[in-house]
Amino acid sequence: MHDLLPVIAAGIVSGSAYALLALGIVIIFRSTDTVNFAIGDMATLGVYIAVTAIGFGVPVAGGLLIAIVVAGGTGVLTERFLIRPLGAGHKSLFIALVVTIGLGLVIHAALGAIWGHRPTTIPAIIPGTASVFGVALTWNKIVATGIALAAMALVAWFFRFTPMGVAMRASAEDHFAARIVGINPGRIAAIAWFLGCGLAAIAAFFLAMDTSVNANLTLAALFRAFAGVFLGGLTSMPGAAIGGFAIGILDNLAGRYLSANYRDTIVFAVIVAVLFVRPSGFLGAGRKERV
């Protein structure tokens, strides 16, 4: 057990990207009932534009801000012009799902067409490595985890204490009641999509810094993020964050103690088992009963 701590530390580091993506997915789902399958591609688009800006001499930290704004802005435009016109109702929810899948494919193809298929890199904010709990981590990963945790704390504060955040929670619970107390549903949707895609951009930016800038940057992470979303319960924000970290830790535990080749299989087997016992995830809303 002497090496359990470093494995968990590594799990938290990789889990922070999953948690950010999962949180982004849940924030968007709660506000507009839409699962945004294009979230990874929107985030990647943000990263490509950030890399271009960095190439023109923008500092790396500025690049991160550009990635957030571009991805968030893309999200806002998508909601306004592709999702909102579909209207409400079950049929349009399914159409919205297909629209986001299609949009993701279009963005993915456009990235290759505009920037080419050769991976590039983002320089590290702080080069070198440090030792955490006896495990050597690049400063990159430490900074990434720190920023991810700070972003999540900021999101938690926003939803807990600001009038707009409270309005967003209210709207997620009851769209109609929110409307009649004067909450503007369009504004709620816009903020949710900006926030969701912006959080995904933070994850994508650090994934790119860790590996390389390529169009499939978020693919594996998004897959795990979705697992985290379901693990935490599709509608719970803390659940999504915890789910993301849980997947990261589980992934590293499986790789270290069981089999590196079957780590995905093991992770998903555990998720299936958890969902079998608790179908709505560990913090999901479950079956709502009204009295």
Binding site: I180, V181, G182
Partner: protein, 238 residues
């Protein structure tokens, strides 16, 4: 007495089924009106249309004589001082009592909201005042009904439209809700209740409107001879 809210030729359908047909209605300023009718008569639809929460298929809604129909369908008329308390209360159950009330004055500056919060808490029962940080869903039915009236009051509305306030409440709790509504009317707020049960409404209202199958079938003052006659013949479903 001039009308605060008025319906002119309102018609509405749900998926082809007639819900309201050619409704003409004037709600006089500062009065207490009870709109009575059986389940499915179109009361909830009329409440939502008058409050601007849904847009009528036909006709106009007038607020102090001005046509406000075009504003319907989004945030309703809450910014114009018309608050709707829909059927089933529709509190935000996962949010705290405090948060629910604060949302009633959404968009107002913090100082305004906090000043109103104090005033509204003074009207609330003890359990609501003691449970500011509790989730609203943990309150009893009567407390929830009081809280949702409180949430509407946070907007300092000129008119409150309340759909089935007695639904699922014990008579003694219903009486408390009506006492609160009567107090508001004395303070100058126009009150419209939409009810299936006439008992409490008749005790507090100034005028009665009955709707049946989407059409107004009776209207009169509470003390009118015709109303008493209608009550005696069971016309009001009393």
């Amino acid at each position: 007495m001039s009308a605060l809210l008025a319906a002119r030729g309102i018609g509405h359908r749900y998926q082809g089924v007639l819900a309201l047909n050619d409704i003409e209605l004037d709600v006089p300023k500062g009065t207490f009106m009870a709109i009575l009718g059986p389940n499915g008569a179109g009361k909830s639809t009329l409440a939502q249309i008058l409050a601007g929460a849904i847009r009528p298929a036909k006709g106009q809604i007038l607020l102090e004589g001005a046509d406000v129909t075009a504003r319907a369908g989004r945030q309703g008329l809450i910014r114009n001082g018309v608050a709707l308390i829909p059927e089933g209360r529709r509190l935000f159950g996962q949010l705290t009592v405090d948060e629910n009330l604060m949302l009633g004055a959404y968009g107002q500056p913090r100082a305004v909201r906090e000043a109103r919060l104090e005033k509204v808490y003074a009207l609330m029962p003890e359990a609501v005042r003691q449970g500011k940080h509790r989730a609203a869903v943990t309150l009893s039915g009567g407390e929830q009904q009081m809280l949702v009236v409180g949430r509407a009051l946070m907007a300092e509305p000129r008119a409150i439209l309340i759909d089935e306030p007695s639904l699922g409440l014990a008579p003694i709790l219903t009486a408390k809700v009506y006492d609160l509504l009567s107090g508001l009317r004395r303070g100058g707020v126009t009150v419209v209740v939409f009810e299936q049960l006439a008992t409490h409404a008749l005790r507090h209202a100034d005028s009665i409107v009955v709707i049946n199958q989407g059409e107004i079938s009776f209207r009169g003052g509470v003390d009118d001879e015709a109303t008493h006659e209608a009550l005696r013949t069971g016309y009001l479903g009393h």
